[in-house]
């Protein structure tokens, strides 16, 4: 059930605000990933007094991004929520199935390189966006 309860006309404004908030959290999270990754590689090396707080900061911002995403989803109307739910279901399934297959390819040395998490993230993102586009077309 849709939880939209505000006055008519406010909904678009609220949705836009939630989208902007999510974009800010996502940008901060990406920047914190870059800081943790490149800061370690280029500046402070294996200094755990810096690495641990930076990774904790990245984790904390990630939690904030998840909460912002949940609030953003709750503000959407019921059809868009349904489209998002189906896209997330597909991407979660692909993450589990694809992740296990990818790991087995590595464990059995079928692929000549290590199975990296980045490959799985690309698979999740692609399956999410393809599913989203298909569902958006279906309800057009």
């Amino acid at each position: 059930m849709n939880s939209n309860t505000g006055k008519s006309g406010d909904w678009e404004k609220r949705t836009r605000n939630k989208t902007v908030t999510l974009a800010i959290w996502t940008t901060l999270w990406v920047l914190s990933v870059a800081l943790a990754t490149y800061g370690h590689e280029l500046f402070w090396g294996s200094n755990d007094l810096i690495n641990v707080p930076v990774i904790l900061l990245n984790f904390g911002i990630g939690i904030g991004m998840i909460i912002a995403n949940i609030k953003h989803l709750r503000e959407m109307d019921e059809m868009v929520q349904k489209i998002q739910l189906e896209a997330m279901g597909v991407s979660l399934g692909m993450a589990v199935v694809g992740g296990v297959s990818y790991t087995m390819l590595d464990a059995t040395n079928v692929i000549p390189f290590d199975a990296e998490i980045s490959g799985l993230i690309v698979l999740i993102a692609l399956s999410y966006f393809i599913s989203l586009l298909i569902n958006l077309r279906r309800y057009k």
């Binding site: 849709n2 008519s8 006309g9 909904w11 959407m76 019921e78 059809m79 349904k82």
Partner: protein
Amino acid sequence: MKNRLKVLRAERDWTQADLASALDVSRQTVNAIENGKYDPSLPLAFKIARLFEKQIEEIFNDEE
């Protein structure tokens, strides 16, 4: 499920955006309901009925 949303909206000279704003949904959702691609939830169907001051069965028809 068939519905008379497009007719009722046209009678009032409302755009899809006007109706979407009144219902707190996106214009795409109004379009999908009008074209029979998406069936609204019961709360949204009641909201539509209240807006047009009609009974739900006067707007929606589950016969193919």
